[in-house]
């Protein structure tokens, strides 16, 4: 009885709900589990551009979905991740990291219909007006995920962006992209509309500059950029259309700690509506 020959997986990009290869046809080799390697798509600038188009197209539907619906879908992502725990462990992700990532989806899922209450409300203006502030998503967010922890870090930057209705283009950890591609499978089965999350694998230094300069990207999350000079140049590019910028976090950041509201609120716009009150 010979040992069964395993079916190996092809790891591709996740753009607009599809799983294409890089349009450049390039891939690169990474370690997959203990004994095998995998070819991972090496995204190009054009892939990044396609991802922005997908994210923009998904934006109005996702932002316009009810908060309840977005919360349900994020919770579904937690359920799917829980169900695939072993799959991530097989990729080398520690079990407690998978658990923490699952719990993070749950934490953010619950925020979808509470954030507008915590971050908005009626302002008591001195006049006969209803004055109402509500948070709205900033739009398309380009995210550089932290290199590690590959799964928890990734979930910790995606979830706070999309819970409020943003859509994201994520440059995944270059050294550990399999968690990202596998997370795409989780999201694809969690009823998340196509294009809300788009994942690029490869070299962030290749794709992110084009995202930082892209005029149809509204915010830039530099969390995973370790190179200070690169981060500065990206922030300078982002200034061209005044993207909201989240600056890099130190490598020793504790991703297991309570994330607080900051990542969500940094990607919100406050809209204030006035209307007179008359009989």
């Amino acid at each position: 009885m010979s040992e069964r020959v395993a079916v190996r997986k092809t790891y591709k990009l996740y753009i607009g709900g599809e799983v294409p290869r890089s349009e450049s046809g390039r891939s690169y080799l990474v370690q997959s589990g203990e004994n095998s390697t995998a070819n991972v798509a090496l995204a190009s600038r054009k892939d990044a551009r396609d991802a922005v188009v997908a994210a923009r197209a998904a934006g109005s539907g996702w932002a316009g979905a009810t908060a309840y619906n977005r919360g349900q879908i994020l919770y579904r992502a937690a359920e799917m991740l829980e169900g695939r725990r072993e799959q991530f462990v097989a990729l080398g992700i520690p079990g407690d990291e998978v658990d923490a990532a699952t719990d993070r989806w749950v934490w953010y899922a619950g925020w979808s219909d509470k954030l507008p209450q915590v971050r908005g409300g009626v302002n008591p203006v001195a006049g006969p007006y209803l004055n109402l502030s509500t948070p709205e998503p900033t739009g398309v967010v380009a995210v550089v995920a932290p290199a590690a922890p590959a799964l928890l870090g990734l979930v910790s930057v995606i979830a706070p962006a999309i819970v409020s209705g943003n859509t994201v283009v994520v440059a995944a950890s270059p050294t550990d992209p399999l968690a990202a591609v596998t997370l795409a499978e989780v999201l694809a089965t969690a009823d998340l509309p196509a294009g809300v999350v788009n994942i690029l694998t490869g070299r962030p230094q290749e794709t992110v500059p084009s995202l930082a300069g892209h005029r149809d990207v509204n915010a830039l999350d530099l969390t995973g950029v370790a190179d200070a000079e690169l981060a500065t140049s990206l922030e300078v590019k982002a200034a061209e259309n005044l993207k909201r910028v989240l600056r890099p976090v130190p490598a020793n950041h504790d991703w297991y700690a309570d994330p607080g509201l900051a990542r969500m609120t940094a990607l919100l716009e406050t809209k204030t509506v006035w209307h007179p009150k008359g009989g």
């Binding site: 316009g64 915590v118 302002n123 008591p124 203006v125 001195a126 006049g127 007006y129 004055n131 502030s133 900033t138 005029r215 509204n218 200070a228 000079e229 981060a231 500065t232 140049s233 922030e235 300078v236 982002a238 200034a239 061209e240 259309n241 005044l242 909201r244 910028v245 600056r247 607080g260 900051a262 609120t265 716009e269 406050t270 809209k271 204030t272 509506v273 006035w274 209307h275 007179p276």
Partner: protein, 476 residues
Amino acid sequence: MFEYAPAPESRSVVRLQPAYGLFVNGEFVDPTDGDSFTSINPASEEVLAEVAAGGVGDVDRAVRAARTAYDRVWGPMPGRDRAKYLFRIARLIQERSRELAVLESLDNGKPIRESRDVDLPLVAAHFFYYAGWADKLDHAGFGPGPRPLGVAAQIIPWNFPLLMLAWKIAPALATGNTVVLKPAETTSLTALLFAEICQQADLPAGVVNIVTGAGETGRALVEHHDVDKVAFTGSTEVGKAIARAVAGTDTRLTLELGGKAANIVFDDAPVDQAVEGIVNGIFFNQGHVCCAGSRLLLQESVADQVLASLKRRMAQLRVGDPLDKNTDIGAINSAAQLARISELAAAGTAEGAQRWSPPGELPERGFWFAPTIFTGVAQAHRIAREEIFGPVLSVLTFRTPAEAVEKANNTPYGLSAGVWTEKGSRMLWLADRLRAGVVWANTFNKFDPTSPFGGYQESGYGREGGRHGLEAYLNV
């Protein structure tokens, strides 16, 4: 004819000094490496005073004073005491509001009716509002014990000199920061009078520093290594330069920049109030308003009717002496701004739009531009895309609510928008879809210290006013 006799507000309440120094560490000082320039009355071109232009060394001195005050006095001070200083300032502003209003109109060119009835009441209200927050920050929703950032560099524009000062200084001080503020070079005088008010309030030295000057002074302030926070209100172009300048640093930044707001009028609008709102939207403060309703979007079924009403109403606008209590439209703030407005208006004509202004004479001296509307404007025209920052309205039309939204959002800006319809659900549908930080429905250009203000996209980031406005000055 009912001709209103001149009704000038008295200038005697203002005692101008021939020259002003910088306000650093609680005192007026001469610049060490700076220069000086004159501030003029834009309505007459008369010289009002000589004002210091702070150099790099002066900026450094001011930042050091602010740092020292932050470390030793203002940072450690209990919130309840910071509150009392701010309440004092608020009261002094109320008590001296006529003096401040007259000086504002003299230096800026805005009508006294507006400086008296809009700017000054809002300035005082802003200090009162944030004074009350100073000892309640634990309960502001940012978690326990939110910390100030430190020294805030604040740069403000010339369109609402004192009001923008209030929007910057009041929340910064309430949250425990100290400030170095640079007023716009054409409108320094009320900031310097505010400095006197700080002295009168016995505000500890160095908590508020006013460094007058032009762009170079501002650049030195923004680029100073010991500044923790930059808050800027002004043009999108300069805002981008500042964003580039602070890139890669720990300096926090909020920007309140330009706009090209759509003011959308539906066929079921309360038409007389809509016309008032259109006029207020674009001619308030000579159109020197970042959130001005500079693109009028009229539903085609009522376009002719609304335009006729608008023209009739515009013929009632009284342009002239800013200090006359009956003036509706004052002077353009500077020769440079007048040139910019004139250039864009000329482009409007050149691109084929039809220009109209009500008949009337403009004063000979000073900087003036008649209230103007352009009809037949296309989305592609410069006057439909670029911020004019003057009393010039571009009129476009639309057919359906969806088209109105599309046209309104078709701009890199996103500061404000107006909607006029008596149908509540349509108003809310639009308000949801307009990409703008402030949406005025059946009203326009309303402001309140409790109401957050700020833009989407290239109109900047961060909010000023309300609880939201605290966040820009807290480490949260």
